[in-house]
């Protein structure tokens, strides 16, 4: 059982209306120091694929085909505890 985390965000340069609105809200709550705020997705699951490389290949394919929208989003993933 591999524990998988996928991180998805709008491509840089694309407008992130949610992020902009949230940043303003935080500011008006007194958190002035917040910049470059982006809101993305965090997807976690377990994958029944003991072989590390196979698991990695499969996760990448999931991201490209379904989890992320290649037109406007970019993704990262992490298997078990390893860094993104």
């Amino acid at each position: 059982m591999t524990r998988v985390e996928v991180f998805i965000q709008l491509k840089p340069g694309l407008l992130d209306p949610q992020g902009e609105t949230l940043a303003h809200a935080l500011e008006s709550l007194g958190h002035e120091g917040v910049t470059e705020l982006r809101v993305g997705k965090w997807i976690t699951f377990r994958l029944d694929e003991p072989d590390r490389t196979a698991a990695e290949r499969e996760v990448r394919e999931m991201c490209e085909r379904l989890l992320a929208n290649p037109v406007i989003e970019r993704f990262q993933y992490r298997l078990d505890g390893d860094g993104p």
């Binding site: 340069g13 407008l15 992130d16």
Partner: protein, 747 residues
């Protein structure tokens, strides 16, 4: 000051890369009296693109009737305006967002809705309704399902958030649209005559402001590259230019804009849509016969390091360009601040007729305004019908093949065809009740929204049949207008005017150009005959993919008025009521849904249009409605009498059934599935049958008793047998939800 000429000289390669022909380039040099700079070249390539400059369509569009006593504002402004009495006017327009939706269906559809909303509220009108006209490939294709789901989500999320009800529309599925879906959105707004505002820069000396979102690199070259070229496999390349919509900011822009106009703070205001700052500023100046000067360094940016070129061409959404007397600046800023919207002074209106762009203290562009807006090259040519037409028209199946069709199997197949099946799956995702004014919701032949403060409503519909236009563009164009008018008649409404969205392939190809010319002819003829001038519209060319051009698809958005007390609403009446067929018997199967869905063929000629009959039918039904002689109605369209009767039945409570009678000796297939126009089914009380029949005859219309509503949920055709209503209804209601449960693919 340094000038544009400081940029490196333009090469032949640059000219080609900007999609300009050598002769167009010569014309530019002539107009400028010098070689353009690179930025200027980019500006010309946009403003002279079909999308902004209408270089292929303008001359032909002139054939459309645009005048009438009811017209307050015809084509030329952001939207058209028509008088609806009581000092009120309805403002409306339809626009396409096809290529952006093909590239990114959710954002493409959402920003399409955003753009058409802005076109309406910049006129000073409060948007009160949206409609959408959609075309996709075959739903069995996983990618088509992906496009369909996300386009519908995009249309819904945007309109729902802004708070404008989406009250009607249409969806057609045909392989002809597989590589290139169509997403047309129509917005309808209302205002008092005196609030009608234009997008003119006004007097020289006015200050120019940008209101709304900061400018990013969104959609650079979107208008020209996406809308003025075919979608090829390299479409992927245009993907980084995807625009993301922000309906929340749009809602703030809407309120701020209407407040500014009500307070008379601005002299002109325009959406920064296709070609962004470039087209909005040059068009505003052009309308005022003035010049304009803008300093791009003052335009608020979302990203660092943007060039003047990028700022000029950016298509970032939710931005407005405003021209106002500088003395109003404090009030302008106050309103903007209250709605939390950035507002920045970026330039001024001048009297030299020049479109001047400066970056700090250097001049980037210096172009006569008219060169960008009036001197656009116009191409007119005479072309012959393409070869396919004769072939398709001749390809009717032989009578034996038609006679072999089993009517029940055919009806079941038609009811389960996604194009004909219920679109509930779509409109249940659209807020169609916000504003608490929706009298006839999606599901009716035309939507009705009440006009607050009056006892009348607006009746709204969009219609278009690309298959018919493909088989005979002229007839198909006229039939689209006729069907829209018939849909309004079926709710008791009187048509006032139309907007159109002309979706075609590449006009540089003779065959496509011919379709365009012929279709406009047909639309013009119908608009003359039905007295519905064209007050606004949009042309979308280059709807092609590696698989060729789409079916030529003009979609017609028609607006009418109805006296709410006498509106005809679906589902009224009950067992014992008669179903009358107003109009002739069906016989015509050419280019019909039957051939398409049962024989898998697009063949033959579409039905003939009898515009006088359509007009008489509309007058007669409105007269009957006014006298409360009709309980409910449904017009005949896709699938003919049998499908219309089934849909009429499904609008009634579950316990109701219907007996449908065929004239003795009639050919069942032709009678049940013929798609001849000028026909409406009327539900009337038995005791009214005589007077209704007489009144219809007085209008010179054939009429017969086509059946009656019964108290048992069965659909019966004496002589042919019967089917339980629930079985047929399950096919009609269940098809799209069932198909949409299957897996999808984003590629």
């Amino acid at each position: 000051m340094t000038t544009a000429l400081a940029e490196r000289p333009v090469t032949e390669g640059d000219v080609a890369a900007h999609g300009l022909t050598p002769s167009e380039y010569e014309r530019i040099v002539e107009l400028l009296g010098r070689e353009p700079g690179l930025t200027e070249l980019g500006v010309f390539s946009l403003m002279w693109s079909e999308h902004c400059g209408y270089k292929y369509s303008r001359a032909r569009l002139a054939e459309l009737p645009t005048e009438g006593p009811q017209v307050l504002q015809g084509p030329g402004e952001n939207a058209g305006a028509v008088d609806v009495g009581d000092g009120l006017a309805v403002v409306f327009k339809m626009e396409s967002h096809n290529h952006p939706s093909a590239v990114e269906p959710y954002q493409g559809a959402a920003t399409g809705v955003g753009g058409i909303l802005r076109d309406v509220f910049t006129m000073g009108a409060r948007p009160i309704a949206l409609l959408d006209s959609l075309r996709f490939g075959d739903l069995d294709d996983p990618h088509v399902r992906y496009l369909f789901r996300n386009v519908v989500r995009g249309v819904g999320d945007y309109g729902n958030c802004v708070g404008v009800p989406t009250v009607g529309g249409e969806v057609v599925f045909d392989d002809a649209y597989r590589g290139n879906p169509l997403v047309n959105a129509m917005c309808v707004g209302i205002l008092r005559h005196e609030e009608l505002t234009g997008a003119s820069a006004g007097d020289p000396g006015n200050a120019v402001y940008v209101l709304g979102s900061a400018t990013g690199r969104d959609g650079i070259h979107g208008a020209s590259l996406l809308a003025s070229t075919e979608l090829g496999d390299d479409t992927v390349e245009s993907r980084p230019t995807v625009q993301v919509g922000d309906p929340f900011t749009e809602k703030l822009l809407l309120e701020a804009t209407l407040e500014l106009i009500a307070r008379d703070v601005v002299s002109g205001i325009q959406d920064m849509g296709a070609a962004g700052l470039t087209s909005s500023s040059s068009e505003m100046a052009s309308r005022a016969g003035a010049g304009i000067e803008i300093d791009v360094t003052r335009v608020p940016r979302r990203e660092p390091g943007m060039t003047a070129y990028e700022v000029l061409l950016s298509e970032s959404q939710e931005r407005m360009l405003i021209s106002a007397d500088a003395v109003n600046e404090p009030e302008l800023m106050e309103v903007a601040a209250r709605w939390d919207l950035p507002c920045t002074r970026v330039g001024r209106v001048t009297d030299d007729g020049v479109w001047r762009i400066v970056e700090g203290d250097s001049v980037v562009c210096e172009i006569p305004v008219r060169a960008l807006t009036e001197e656009v090259p116009r191409y007119v040519r005479e072309v012959d019908p393409p070869a396919y037409v004769a072939a398709v028209q001749a390809a009717m199946p032989d009578p034996a093949e038609l006679a072999a069709i089993d009517p029940w199997a055919a009806l079941e197949t038609l009811l389960a065809a996604p194009t004909i099946a219920s679109k509930r799956w779509v409109w249940e995702q659209y807020d169609h009740t916000v504003r608490a004014s929706t009298v006839a919701a999606p599901g009716a032949d035309a939507a009705i929204v009440r006009i607050r403060g009056t006892d009348r409503g607006l009746a709204l519909v969009v219609d278009g049949n690309g298959r018919w236009v493909y088989c005979d563009p002229r007839r198909g164009g006229a039939l689209a207008v006729a069907e829209a008018a018939r849909n309004l008649a079926a709710v008791g409404a009187r048509p006032l005017a139309i907007t159109d969205c002309l979706n075609f392939g590449n006009p540089e190809k003779d065959g496509v150009y011919w379709q365009f010319v012929e279709a406009i002819r047909g639309i013009a003829e119908a608009c003359h005959a039905l007295d519905t001038p064209v007050v606004s519209g949009n042309v979308s060319f280059y709807n092609e993919s590696s698989r060729g051009a789409i079916h030529p698809t003009p979609t017609i958005g028609m607006v009418g008025v109805v006296d709410l007390e006498h509106a005809i609403l679906p589902g009224r009446g009950g067992p014992g009521d008669l179903v009358l067929l107003a109009g002739a018997e069906g016989t015509h199967l050419g280019a019909s849904s039957l051939l398409r869905e049962i024989l898998g063929r697009t063949a033959g000629l579409p039905p003939e249009v009898d515009l006088q009959a359509e007009r008489r039918l509309g007058d007669a039904v409105r007269e009957l409605a006014g006298a409360d002689l009709v309980r409910s109605a449904h017009d005949l369209s896709d699938g003919g009498l049998s499908v219309a009767a089934a849909e009429l039945l499904f609008a009634h409570p579950a316990g109701i059934g219907l007996d449908l009678e065929l004239p003795s000796g009639a050919d069942p297939v032709k009678t049940l599935f013929g798609e001849d126009g000028a026909r409406i089914l009327l539900v009337v009380a038995p005791e009214r049958e005589a007077v209704v029949t007489r009144r219809l005859s007085d209008h010179g219309l054939p009429v017969r008793i086509a059946g009656r509503l019964t108290g048992t949920p069965v659909f019966r055709v004496p002589g042919l047998g019967e089917r339980p209503r629930p079985d047929l209804e399950a096919l009609w209601e269940g098809t799209i939800p069932r198909i949409m449960q299957r897996t999808e693919s984003s590629r």
